[in-house]
């Protein structure tokens, strides 16, 4: 008689999938590249949130960062488009099927230089999309030129010093209309994972600038995007906590020091203040704080701004509930009498 061995099997999430089903192809990026750590956190967040991979669309521009959708969620459709234009592709894709979740991966070059126009208009539309800038201060893929997010005074390996001011994508996103804006660091596992999970629960544009060191071209002394620099200068504006809708809320919190934000899907985003008086629902205050911190040489991280009330672009368009992509002919081609009526009026 054979003994029955019960194999506990791999741990599965609430929809019964193991984390393996959230993985992607093997990375071809440099070992130690911050972008890889971000891919790992995306896998964890999607797994923990129990997102059905087939319900996700991955979109990206061009750059080392934009390659990374190949390294997570192989079961999701993915679109690696052209340099700086992922926002428009994402917009079209999400209009075609507004029932899908969209995650867009960009780089600091892809966003803050060639893609600035589309970035601005994406934020302005508040399209439901998680937009991640994997920010290393350089163009990794073209071998290390400065990007427009590089800080003034920072130095390339070759000794070239950047003498132009950095574009702060977070304060821009806040001004332009994004409804969930934050910064994190690829090396800060816990914070990044929590922010990603909250991003999944949000409906509207989530703009996360994730500092992601380029070990090959921008991790040296004199860089302001190195692991070392971040260890010394990261300054969380608050502690980010997240309780997904499908979990019981049992953790107590102090309303005096913690802001509890109910997300679109009923999840709870808990922002514990470390900076006194910081109010992540006040746009002007958020922008001012970011500017001041930057002047002090601090790299603020955390959720800077959140608005769960503003209508998402797909809501403004008042679309039918079903995806436009798969509407049947009966709903997309008006009947014979409509054409006859129009022709009659033109006679």
């Amino acid at each position: 008689m054979a003994a029955t061995v019960t194999n506990p099997g791999p741990k599965v999430n609430r929809i019964g999938l193991p984390v393996l089903e959230y993985r992607g192809g093997k990375t071809t990026l440099c070992a130690g590249c911050g972008h890889n750590a971000i891919s790992e956190r995306i896998i964890d967040a999607m797994f923990e949130m129990g997102v059905q991979p087939e319900r996700v669309m991955k979109l990206s521009g061009i750059g080392c960062s934009s390659k990374s959708p190949a390294y997570f969620l192989s079961r999701s459709h993915s679109f690696n488009s052209v340099h700086g234009r992922m926002p428009s592709v994402a917009t079209g894709a999400l209009l075609a099927n507004h029932t899908m979740m969209g995650i867009g991966i960009s780089g600091d070059g892809d966003t803050a230089s060639i893609g600035m126009g589309q970035f601005a208009h994406l934020m302005r539309r508040n399209l439901p999309l998680i937009y991640i800038i994997e920010d290393n201060g350089v163009y990794g893929l073209t071998k290390g030129q400065f990007s427009a997010t590089a800080d003034i005074g920072s130095k390339l390996k070759t000794g070239v010093v950047n003498d132009l001011p950095a574009i702060d994508t977070c304060s821009l996103a806040i001004q332009l209309g994004a409804t969930f804006v934050g910064r994190s660091f690829s090396g800060d596992k816990k914070q990044l994972l929590t922010m990603l999970k909250a991003a999944i629960a949000h409906k509207g544009t989530v703009m996360l600038d994730v500092v992601s060191p380029c070990v090959t071209f921008n991790d040296h002394e004199g860089s302001t995007r190195s692991y070392k620099y971040m260890q010394d200068h990261e300054e969380p504006i608050g502690e980010v906590g997240f309780v997904p809708a499908f979990e019981e809320i049992d953790v107590e919190y102090d309303p005096g020091t913690t802001l509890d934000v109910t997300m679109h899907d009923g999840s709870s985003l808990r922002l514990k203040k470390l900076h006194e008086d910081y109010d992540p629902t006040d746009r002007a205050h958020a922008v001012k704080t970011l500017l001041e911190a930057h002047e002090k040489g601090e790299v603020l991280t955390g959720v800077f701004y959140i608005d769960t009330k503003k209508a998402a672009f797909t809501d403004l368009l008042n679309l039918v509930d079903d995806p436009l992509a798969t509407l049947k002919q009966e709903r997309t081609r008006p009947g014979r009498q409509v054409l006859e009526e129009i022709m009659g009026r033109l006679k």
């Binding site: 428009s88 079209g92 894709a93 209009l95 008006p334 006859e340």
Partner: protein
């Protein structure tokens, strides 16, 4: 006498135009032999003076009298203040191309009046403001001075409306002089002001004032008359952009993106009106999304993103927008993404003449983007084809999984044309080769870029397909049949060869050329798009005046169908007529034809910003034929 033409859109009358000399008698002295339903009117006004309604009433009155008619707005790139011309052509033969000569000038723009009258051929007619005394410039033109301001003041007490109402006076004057049926005029006017009873009454009073003035004061001394015919019964009048918009709606378009640019804006503006009226569901929700994008790069990006995710998507633009779309067009070709792009051509290069017409985007569109890129291009020649090709373009884009361009132009897009009512599309919508979750469940394996059927067209899945194997990775970089990244030489070459095979398949899917031939003629003519109007008339001229019966093939799409090769092979000389400087269609044909055939091609080009006219085509062919 000498005629000048600086700045005016009309060319001086050619001395040897037999039609012009034969039919109109110069000078008012002898009673002229009547010319019935065969003349052109040019109204010269100032942009923004509100003459559009008056011109439309004039056009529609002739139409209502059953006479084939066409109207063209020759306008400046300006909102108000610069000269603008509107030409109407009535033709009992059904010719709707621009007529080279103007027969009746209505000179309402004091600034250009002198030039306008100087540009007329002898025997033409001029209606003008009395005080301008244009007669001083021409004694060989039939002159009808009219005190427009005085007549306007009498019917329109409100001073600020007079500028608009004044235009209706010339409608009345022309109606009387041309012996038009006042019932038809009133019908057209009431239709124009359908919802504005007061405006209709005021404008009608002006028409009557003009009519009565002409009847009482002017003595008819020209030959031109409108007589009732029955050639327009059941016909519609529509502009090409509206026809494209309708085609798109009936194709089931779901995502529309655009960035405004003349002359394409009214495609989307009119489409929005149609969609709001006919595609909002009973619960008030829209089965479509329209986005005014931040620029044309974003517009095409959205189109391709939407097409990738399964929408029927489109954008409309003109030359400058096409240039901006170049990078994305290559991505669409290489990653095999459907989308429809309407290019309503205007005159380039650069900003060029943004309110004038041309067919000069052909080559840049056919090969838009870097690398070995090429695109199917549909070439509608009339409003019916605008409707039909717009509709077909979506099936083609999804059927071929590639961007498809519809090349119209300003003349077709922004002017009013007569047509039979459009036929309801009987063919059901065809979404092309899309695998569903059920299909995938039955397949052991699939490859996004695999040529399963041998026609070069692979199968795709849409995001959201509920099957773990549905997903694939779309990229503009090298990929293999499984859509995996690849730089292997054989993978790249296989892919490019399959794309070429797919383009070959497209030859049989796009609209076939139309051929008219006797089988006896050594001379053939090839044209496309709006040059068709002039070529049809020119072929009649060649036959009637020179005894040359030329066969005709009209190209309706790129890639070229095989019939085009056969047509060239069966003629000794083939004239390729087009509206650009560089003989773009001829060049494109050369790439496709066997080497021995290319020497047969001869070029007839027209590129001054005005729509091509028959006489220019005839003269050029006659010259090259040595007739």
């Amino acid at each position: 006498m000498a005629t000048t033409n600086a700045g005016a859109p009309s060319a001086p009358a050619p001395a040897g135009d037999p039609a012009a000399q034969g039919e109109a008698t110069a000078g008012p002295a002898t009673p002229p032999k009547p010319v019935i339903n065969d003349f052109s009117i040019q109204v010269a006004t100032v942009n923004g003076s509100g003459s559009q309604s008056a011109n439309s009433v004039l056009l529609r009155s002739i139409f209502a009298m059953g006479v084939p008619v066409s109207g063209k707005n020759l306008f400046p790139s300006n909102i108000a203040g610069l000269p603008t011309w509107y030409t109407i052509r009535a033709s009992r033969h059904g010719y709707v191309a621009r007529k080279k000569d103007i027969d009746v000038l209505i000179a309402m723009n004091a600034e250009t009046a002198r030039e306008d009258i100087l540009s007329l051929r002898p025997g033409a007619v001029a209606i003008y403001e009395e005080s301008a005394n244009l007669k001083q410039y021409r004694d060989d033109v039939v002159c009808y001075p009219v005190p427009f301001d005085k007549l306007t003041a009498a019917v329109c007490p409100e001073a600020k409306l007079r500028k608009l109402v004044k235009n209706m006076i010339y409608v009345g004057v022309a109606a009387q002089l041309l012996h038009m049926d006042m019932e038809a005029v009133e019908g057209a006017l009431r239709k124009q002001f359908a919802k504005k009873q007061k405006a209709a009454d005021l404008n009608w009073a002006a028409v009557e004032a003009g009519y009565n003035y002409a009847a009482q004061t002017l003595t008819k001394a020209d030959p031109f008359l409108v007589e009732r015919m029955h050639a327009t019964e059941g016909k519609i009048i529509i502009d090409g952009n509206a026809a494209c918009a309708l085609g798109a709606m009936f194709a089931g378009v779901t995502v529309v993106t655009w960035y405004p640019i003349t002359p394409s804006s009214s495609v989307v503006e009119q489409l929005i009106d149609f969609l709001k009226k006919y595609r909002v569901e009973p619960d008030g929700k829209a089965s479509f999304a329209v986005v005014q994008a931040e620029d044309e790069l974003a517009a095409i990006g959205m189109v391709l993103g939407a097409g990738w995710a399964g929408a029927r998507s489109m954008t409309a633009t003109s030359g400058p927008g096409i240039s901006l779309m170049a990078e994305f067009a290559g991505l669409g070709y290489f990653a095999e993404l459907p989308g429809v792009i309407f290019d309503i051509q205007r005159v380039g290069p650069s900003t060029g003449l943004p309110t004038r017409t041309a067919q000069a985007d052909l080559l840049s569109v056919a090969f838009l983007s870097h690398g070995d890129t090429k695109h199917p291009v549909l070439l509608p020649a009339n409003v019916t084809e605008c409707f039909e090709f717009a509709c077909a373009a979506f099936d083609l884009a999804e059927g071929l999984q590639t961007p498809v361009f519809v090349l119209s132009d300003l003349d077709l897009g922004m002017n009013n044309w007569m047509s039979d009512p459009f036929a309801y599309p009987e063919k059901p919508i065809n979404r092309g080769k899309v695998l569903t979750a059920e299909d995938l469940a039955k397949l052991p394996d699939w490859g996004r870029y695999k040529d399963v059927d041998g026609d070069g067209i692979p199968y795709r899945t849409l995001p959201g397909t509920d099957h773990p194997k549905a997903a694939y990775f779309t990229r503009g970089s090298g990929h293999n049949e499984k859509a995996l990244y690849s730089e292997r030489p054989e993978d790249y070459q296989n892919l490019m060869e399959r794309l070429a095979r797919k383009f070959d398949t497209a030859r049989t899917m796009v609209p076939a050329p139309l051929v008219v031939q006797t089988g006896k003629s050594k001379v053939g003519v090839i044209a496309y798009g709006t040059s068709d109007f002039a070529v049809g008339e020119s072929r009649d001229q060649l036959k009637k005046e020179y005894g040359l019966e030329a066969d005709y093939l009209r190209i309706r799409a790129y890639p070229f169908a095989r019939e085009i090769r056969e047509f060239v092979a069966s003629h000794e000389r083939v004239y390729v007529v087009e509206q650009n400087r560089d003989a773009q269609m001829l060049s494109l044909l050369k790439l496709d034809l066997p080497a021995g055939e290319t020497t047969k091609l001869r070029s007839v080009r027209h590129f001054n910003g005005l729509p091509i006219d028959a006489r220019s085509v005839t003269d050029e062919i006659v010259m090259q034929e040595g007739l």
